[in-house]
């Protein structure tokens, strides 16, 4: 039997604070990632993702502190991404309390990083974060960097296949076309990738309506990541889970 569909809120963190708009009324401190993680845990989040968007590595120390403080209070899996470039970075985050690490740009620049992390810690800690958009490559989806602003000319599907061969445990598929639109997940891209991979897939980017979540599952996603619909209180996690449960999906 398949595990339940995972609903994963994503928090962008820099210098120990959550950035991007947060619009919660039940928080003492809306910028404190630990406090937000606690609220999402109470609402039924199946995992949490922190994305460290600090501009400089000097500021990443505070992220280790945030990860540590969160792991002390929240007993669900915690994935941390952003700026992970070396095995030593992974080791530090795991020691701080992260369960999984997502790797993006550094793996594009040096794919061997993936096999190095796999050898040290196993595939189960390694999430490949893929920022893709429509482009003039073989599958018509192109890998991007810098938050979708720079094309690489690399075919996104080919990249994911290569990364899976290097030992990735999970794919976080971010649609740069859908991101921020709230017009729905990129179903075409999810469907296109699904037959090429034998690892779980997290869909990300575009969540707006309740039906968007079920459509992404039908397209092949195992887990659904969202940020703004949760942060702005458009939906509570419990609402999404109730909707999916009543539609017949496996939900915790």
């Amino acid at each position: 039997m398949n595990p339940s569909i995972r609903i994963i809120p994503c928090l962008d963190v820099t210098e120990g604070r959550v950035v991007k708009g947060i619009n919660f009324t039940n928080l003492k401190d809306a910028g404190d990632p630990v406090e937000m993680a606690r609220v999402y845990d109470l609402e039924g989040a199946d995992e949490l993702t922190f994305l460290d968007i600090s501009a400089s590595t000097g500021n990443r120390q505070t992220t280790y502190d945030v990860v540590g403080r969160t792991a002390e209070q929240v007993f669900i899996p915690l994935t941390v991404g952003g700026g992970v470039r070396t095995v030593a970075d992974v080791d530090k985050l795991l020691r701080a309390g992260a369960d999984k690490i997502s790797v993006n740009t550094a793996a594009i620049e040096r794919p061997e990083l993936l096999s190095e992390i796999n050898q040290h810690f196993g595939a189960q800690v390694l999430v490949l974060s893929v920022d893709a958009r429509r482009g003039a490559t073989a599958s018509s989806f192109e890998l991007t960097t810098h938050g979708g602003t720079r094309g690489t000319g690399i075919d996104a599907i080919e990249w994911v296949k290569q990364a899976c061969d290097l030992g990735v445990g999970e794919i976080l598929l971010n649609s740069m076309d859908a991101d921020g639109t709230r017009a729905g997940y990129d179903l075409e891209m999810i469907q296109l990738l699904r037959p090429h991979i034998s690892t779980p897939m997290i869909a990300s980017g575009g969540a707006g309506a309740l039906e968007d979540f079920s459509r992404a599952i039908d397209a092949g996603a195992d887990a659904l990541l969202a940020a703004s619909v949760f942060h702005f209180g458009v939906y509570r996690i419990s609402q999404i889970k109730e909707f999916l449960r009543s539609a017949g999906y496996l939900i915790r």
């Binding site: 995972r6 007993f75 309390g97 196993g122």
Partner: protein, 207 residues
């Protein structure tokens, strides 16, 4: 005192916090005597079976567990820590001897999508003490390998085991309760309130 064996594997920090959630005194340690004498010993483990076995043997976990068994003190293996309690681990065609407390070989799950990652249900053994109150809950799994057969050892001094089963591509052992020796293939320390209850149940056995 509950000891968590620190042999270089696993997210020890979250285990430490989860096990102390209900007030238990928890110490992360690889001190030989402390590990032998603790009221409860937790053996975590993530990554490769062979790597975990190397770390465990470096810290004489085989001797520690045998000593604890003879004193009837509770030991709990988690994830790869659970797998290493079986006779062998077979990963990528490399067969590594385990600690051998239970018969059986840990092999790759016959599922099309691996790892088995996420929250799944468990077919809980009748009269399980570990799962008391959380028999119907989901627990967090992340693994590609598992023991898939239970072979009762007629010569084992342990009383009959309670085996709880998971199913992902096929049946696998999700948990074992066998006198002073218990194991969970899933991560109770990452399984939210259900995991906290299971940990509480196990700590109650340690008293």
């Amino acid at each position: 005192m509950i000891a968590i064996l620190d042999y270089g594997s696993g997210n020890i920090k979250s285990a430490q916090r989860a096990f102390s959630r209900h007030g238990a005194q928890v110490e992360v340690t690889n001190d030989f005597q402390k590990c032998i004498n603790a009221d409860g010993l937790v053996i975590p483990g993530v990554g490769a079976f062979a790597t975990c076995m190397e770390g465990l043997l470096n810290h004489r976990a085989d001797v520690i567990i045998d000593a604890r068994m003879s004193k009837n003190l509770q030991t709990l293996g988690i994830c790869v820590g659970a797998q290493t309690l079986f006779s062998f681990g077979d990963e990528h065609d490399v067969v590594t001897p385990g600690l051998g407390q239970w018969n059986g070989t840990v092999t790759k799950l016959p599922a099309p999508k691996l790892p088995h990652m996420g929250w799944n249900l468990i077919d809980v053994a009748p009269e399980s003490a570990l799962f008391a109150g959380v028999e119907k809950e989901r627990f967090y799994f992340v693994h590609s390998f598992a023991a898939q057969n239970w072979e009762e050892d007629p010569h084992s001094p342990l009383k009959q085991a309670k085996v709880s089963w998971g199913n992902y591509g096929g049946k696998f052992i999700a948990a074992v309760e066998n006198g002073p020796l218990s194991a969970t293939q899933f991560h109770p320390e990452k399984s939210g309130d259900a995991g906290a209850k299971l940990i509480e149940n196990w700590i109650a056995k340690c008293a």
